[in-house]
Amino acid sequence: MPPRRSLARGARPVVGFGVIVLLILVAWEGAKWLAGDPWRYESFLGTGISIDHRPPFRLVPVNDINLPHVWSIVEEFASVDARGTTTLAVLVGAGLFTLRNAAVGFAIGAVVGLTLAIIIVHVRFLERSLVPLLVVSQTIPIIAIAPLIVIGLRADWLGVAAVTSYLTFFPVTIAAIRGLRAFDPRAHELLTSYAADRRTVLWKLRLPSSTAYLFTAFKIAATGSIVGAIVGELPSGMSQGLARQILTGMQYYTLGPSYLWAAIVIASALGIGAFVLVTLVERWVLRDARPAESGAEA
């Protein structure tokens, strides 16, 4: 039954991901069991089981301040603030706001990055003169220029998107330069025999041949765009995004570390979501591509 088999095949990575997350959680709590703060529960997670465990060792990195219990973070999601909203709802709302900024920034970064690459592959001397400058642009810490862009441009979504695109265009440019040159030289000869102009070569040969490179870059850029949006939101003073929630979590960390961890979980989920979204688009775009097992002949 082919449909069932393909379903199992589709489920396999999800199951694998779950198993790895579970292993990390086991290691997390295992470390706390061995070297964390004492475990004292009258009724552990409402099960009625009482626990009084003194870990044999003491390590600062795994105490309750630095590495809260997994269930403390889960409880944090469920806890309700003064206005009656759960932390989960607050963080998801902030996450969606940040995601929108990230998406705009990603789109700008992808377009700018691809445009730069197209210019560079067509104007030879630019590769040696412009690319080093682009590399320099990435050595400047984004946190240092974010206020410049956000305050200097506009302290709203546009500024945040600009910071995000600053972080996302680079992998796209570098991969696209490579991808736009990855065409079959014989195919180029064929187009030359038809006296095709450079624009035709770009649209009919260079861009279609570069899809594998482009989507790899888009995946890197999509994940990076979440970080970019958060960094961009910091100096803008925006209160709706994840940056403000992370800031709050940092300020109250010694009182309740779970809040920051909860924000980190949401930020990671956004990153994974962005990555998966690009992967799905890639699969749709390349749905008719030659299956890998049939190989590349001649």
């Binding site: 014989r186 195919a187 064929l190 030359t192 025999s193 006296a195 279609p208 008719d288």
Partner: protein, 287 residues
């Protein structure tokens, strides 16, 4: 179909389609210049089927590329349809077929055939009709919706031929198009190519390293030798125009195969072997 080919380029009815005068090609390299072609003189008339045959490195592919303006000659004159090779390329007078089909994986078979028409910005309806006709011509009418990688090597090469013919080219340039195919497929493709040539009336320049193939297909065989590449012999193939499987068993066919083989040998400076004719004959029968 012959008429449309002739009318399209609007060239004089007489005179050669391709004319090479003292054409030479020198490739510069770090190890010093290499003379690939030495003073080639060749004139090809309308509707001819000319094969270029010779050992590896004799410059037959280079010669084809110079005619097609994919590389330029170092010296001499190349005239195509009474104009420069470059102008002929810009006028889309050429159809190219390489040893590999060079089909675009991201396009369907039909879209691959439409490619040259798209480049010329022909209307969609015209493109589709032409692609359908060309696929019919190479007997792949029902495979338009397939992806190239779903087809066998021989079928892919037929798609490449259909694509090359889509613009009604005045000249079809073929660079060992069947070199990668097995013997059976190659012979079938030879017959198919002759049928297409007969129907379109296009001029064909065909690079090959197979003597039987050159003789079977051509009206004229150009024998070349290496270092430097030059033409050592021109052999008229006076077999009847209407060729089929029986042609390969004709006495005259074997004589011509032997002649080409001897010309190739003398080009290399080796003495002709008296038993050669018998050997070729045996080979021809088994092929």
């Amino acid at each position: 179909m012959t008429d449309t080919v002739t009318d399209r380029a609007g060239r004089p009815a007489s005179g050669p389609v391709v004319e090479l005068v003292d054409t030479s090609k020198v490739f510069g390299g770090s190890a010093g210049p290499v003379e690939a072609l030495n003073r080639i003189n060749l004139s090809i008339g309308r509707g001819e089927f000319v094969s270029l045959i010779g050992p590896s490195g004799c410059g037959k592919s280079t010669l084809l590329r110079i005619v097609g303006d994919l590389i330029s000659a170092s010296d001499g004159m190349v005239t195509v349809n009474g104009k420069s090779a470059r102008q002929a390329r810009l006028d889309r007078d050429y159809g190219m077929v390489f040893q590999a089909p060079v089909l675009f994986d991201w396009r369907t078979v039909r879209q691959n055939v439409e490619l040259p028409l798209e480049i010329l910005r022909r209307p969609k309806a015209e493109r589709e009709a032409k692609a359908r006709d060309m696929l019919e011509l190479v007997e792949l009418g029902t495979f338009g919706g397939h992806r190239p990688w779903q087809l066998s090597g021989g079928m892919q090469q037929r798609v490449a031929i259909a694509r090359a013919l889509a613009l009604d080219p005045a000249i079809l340039l073929m660079d060992e198009p069947f070199g990668a195919l097995d013997e059976m497929t190659r012979e079938r493709m030879n017959l198919e190519l002759l049928r297409i040539w007969d129907r379109t009336g296009t001029t064909v320049i065909f690079v090959t390293h197979s003597i039987p193939e050159a003789v079977f297909l051509s009206t004229r065989v150009v024998v070349m030798s290496a270092r430097p590449g030059r033409i050592t012999d021109l052999i008229e193939v006076d077999l009847p125009r209407d060729r089929n499987v029986e042609t390969r068993e004709m006495e005259r066919y074997f004589e011509l195969v032997t002649r080409v083989r001897e010309a190739l040998r003398s080009g290399e400076g080796a003495p002709a072997d008296p038993t050669e004719a018998a050997r070729v004959r045996a080979e021809g029968l088994s092929a």
